[in-house]
């Protein structure tokens, strides 16, 4: 099965296909530039270019990148999973649960260097559970991860004490201020540690996807699982590992969010799965797996972040949901037009 449209296996080169391939390669950057452009001119009457309150002012950019850390990290790992043709709808809940557990540990005096690895281990466990349900018990991915979505969310809500909306300072037990250090405190160029951790991990993911055998295996399983297994790939192991990877990245995202907000909010990850799906689809990963790019998902994630941040300055907050829904459907249409091979 020829799953990529760029492979030069066609005998007769087709001009319209080449055009499509070019559009497919670059459109996402154009979309990002366009959106950034729109948001930077739309309020020029009120604010100065690059001045205070402008979309591209240094403060605004730093703020956007800081809040983008969870989305960037999570959608990177999510791409690999979608390339292999699987999906994890529980990422948002897993992120919330990790955030809550992390905040709870910090509140109770566990040092950062201990709380960090413990949360990562929790991420591994959550991811492994998803992998077990999908790959070993062979429950349909959507249903299995919906079940874990409910369970993780329930656990996060249960951990938070009754009558409180999140794990936060309580009388006599304040949340240590250094919880901010990881995701809010300026390290370089106004950006926090968490941002650089995210960038480093994404760089690793890009290399994993492009240069390592795991990336090739993921694409092979997504392209045609039976063929991949016949050629000796252990699909169960590969996908299970990817679920664990998503779990670990959900833990990182959860910690970044908890540290940024100084509290463990059991609902902070709600709808994160949708944001990830939007970023991944904008990035041109095929719905059914087989091809995709972590790097382009990052561009997709930046588009989502720009839209959410930019819209907030222009229209009331209650437009947010309809905007995201439309973006998702537009992403689906673009993806359909550009990524899929036309039906024969």
């Amino acid at each position: 099965m020829n799953s990529t449209s760029q492979k030069p296996t066609r005998v007769t080169p087709d001009r319209s296909r080449d055009v499509r391939a070019t559009i497919k390669k670059y459109y996402i950057y154009v979309v990002l530039l366009f959106i950034v452009f729109v948001f930077s001119v739309v309020k020029l009457g009120e604010v100065e270019m690059f001045g205070r309150g402008h979309f591209l002012s240094p403060d605004s950019v730093v703020n956007m990148l800081r809040t983008a850390v969870p989305v960037l990290t999570l959608s990177g790992a999510f791409t690999l999973l979608m390339i292999s043709g699987y999906i994890d709808l529980s990422v948002g809940s897993a992120m919330s649960l990790n955030a809550v557990v992390f905040a709870l540990m910090i509140l109770n005096g566990v040092p950062f260097l201990l709380a960090f690895p413990i949360t990562l281990v929790l991420g591994v466990i959550l991811g492994a559970i998803n992998g077990y349900l999908v790959m070993k018990l062979r429950i349909t991915p959507v249903i299995a991860t919906l079940v874990t979505l409910l369970i993780f969310k329930g656990l996060a809500l249960l951990i938070v004490p009754d009558g409180s909306s999140a794990i936060k300072s309580i009388p006599g037990k304040p949340m240590p201020e250094w919880i901010n250090d990881y995701a809010r405190h300026d390290v370089l160029l106004g950006l926090p540690m968490a941002f650089f951790v995210a960038v480093a991990l994404i760089a690793v993911l890009v290399i994993v996807q492009r240069k390592t055998i795991l990336g090739k295996y993921a694409a092979a399983v997504g392209g045609n699982r039976t063929a991949a297994e016949l050629s000796g790939i252990n699909a169960v192991k590969v996908v299970w590992f990817l679920y664990i990877l998503v779990g670990v990245f959900a833990a990182l995202a959860g910690m970044a969010r908890a540290s940024y907000m100084s509290l463990g909010d059991p609902l902070s990850g709600d709808n994160m799965e949708l944001t990830c799906i939007i970023a991944v689809l904008l990035g041109g990963t095929a719905f059914s797996g087989g091809e995709g790019s972590v790097a382009k998902t990052m561009v997709g994630a930046l588009i989502v972040i720009s839209i959410t941040t930019g819209l907030m300055t222009v229209i009331p907050a209650y437009w947010q949901t309809v905007a995201m829904g439309s973006v998702l459907l537009i992403a689906v249409v673009l993806n359909h037009l550009l990524v899929r091979e036309p039906a024969k």
């Binding site: 429950i139 959507v142 249903i143 369970i151 809500l157 938070v160 799906i277 059914s288 689906v332």
Partner: protein, 345 residues
């Protein structure tokens, strides 16, 4: 497979005579489960066995059951509909907006279009079906996975509801007739009209599913959509109708709920799409086999009702409901699989 056994049942011959279909088997299995769960609940929770409580268990989940009918049919064909919660909110808000008096107040949220109630309901239901049509277009025409599409249209529908209500709700300057169907009870009983609507719809859906050609085709598509297409079933058209039906049922629920509370709330029915899916799965609907029934879903809804109300009776915090729903679904899936595998060995 399933269809085969079904067909054989109609013309009973030889040794296959009297063999239950897997579907009936699972439904019976879940009824036994229901009795078990109810028995346990009745033992632990005080007053759980009282007739009034049993009636409540049947009646209180009417909205999930109505929505569950459409979700069940779609699930049988191998598709998800996660937009039902959003559609309920949208239809409710729209019916209020269309019905509110025009230019009656300074407050934007108090002004509507001033249409008569019947017209308002009809228009709101049309909009709901529009969302269903959008789902169908993406899933049946563009062949996009239904889970992605319907999550997107769910946001779209709820988002429009939020825009119309400015993120809150509309509940003023409504005519009295608006609150009737939602609160009215069947004469001489305490059973609400909504519950009656649920029972009628379940009955109609049951007949549709077992006795009509389109009903049986639904299963054929679920069992093997390619084979269905080759044998002349118009798969695209069939899926389109089912998506529109599902949205329409969600719309009816939205109208009834809006009428019951006499308000259009943009955050109404959050998470109902999960509940509808959970009750369908509890009732033995399978996503990859063209198996499942509305009756099973109904049993599933009662099971969920028993579990959640028992947990409330045990004074568990409401936060438990997510874990309960998740674990009950998980156990049900495994139990059904186990039962099917070990059937008549």
């Amino acid at each position: 497979m399933n269809v085969d056994t079904k067909l054989m049942q109609k013309k009973p011959t030889g040794s296959r005579m009297g063999k239950m279909s897997n579907e009936t088997f699972i439904t019976l299995f879940m009824i036994v489960m229901l009795i078990l769960v109810f028995g346990i609940a009745a033992l632990v929770v005080p007053n759980f066995y009282l007739p009034q409580n049993m009636l409540n268990l049947l009646a209180n989940n009417w909205f999930i059951v109505i929505v569950g009918i459409g979700v069940t049919f779609l699930l049988v064909t191998g598709n998800f509909d996660m937009s039902v919660g959003g559609v309920i909110a949208l239809t409710g808000v729209l019916s209020v907006y269309f019905c509110q008096g025009a230019n009656v107040s300074q407050n934007v949220l108090a002004n509507g279009l001033g249409l008569p109630y019947g017209v308002a309901v009809a228009l709101a239901l049309l909009c709901a079906m529009g969302v269903g049509g959008l789902n169908a277009f993406f899933v049946a025409r563009l062949k996009v996975p239904s889970i992605i599409v319907t999550l997107g249209t769910a946001m779209l529908a709820r988002g429009i509801a939020q825009v119309i209500t400015q993120g809150a709700q509309r509940n003023t300057s409504l005519p009295d007739v608006f609150g009737f169907i939602g609160t009215m009870a069947i004469p001489a009983t305490t059973i609400k009209i909504s519950v009656l609507v649920m029972l009628i719809l379940v009955f109609v859906a049951f007949i549709f599913e077992k006795k009509t050609v389109p009903g049986r085709r639904t299963y054929l598509i679920g069992a093997n959509s390619e084979a269905a297409r080759l044998s002349g079933v118009k798969v695209t058209r069939h899926l389109t109708s089912l998506f529109i039906l599902s949205a329409l049922l969600a719309g009816i629920t939205g109208i009834l709920l809006a009428s019951e509370f006499k308000a259009g709330v943009s955050n109404r029915a959050t998470g109902y799409e999960f509940d509808a899916l959970v009750v369908a799965l509890l009732g033995g609907v399978s996503i990859n086999g063209g198996r499942g029934s509305v009756l099973g879903m109904f049993v599933g809804a009662i099971i969920l009702s028993v579990v959640t109300s028992a947990s409330t009776g045990l004074l568990l915090s409401p936060d438990w409901q997510f874990i309960l729903k998740g674990s009950v679904t998980f156990i049900a899936i495994l139990a059904q699989r186990f039962a099917l595998e070990h059937r008549k060995v």
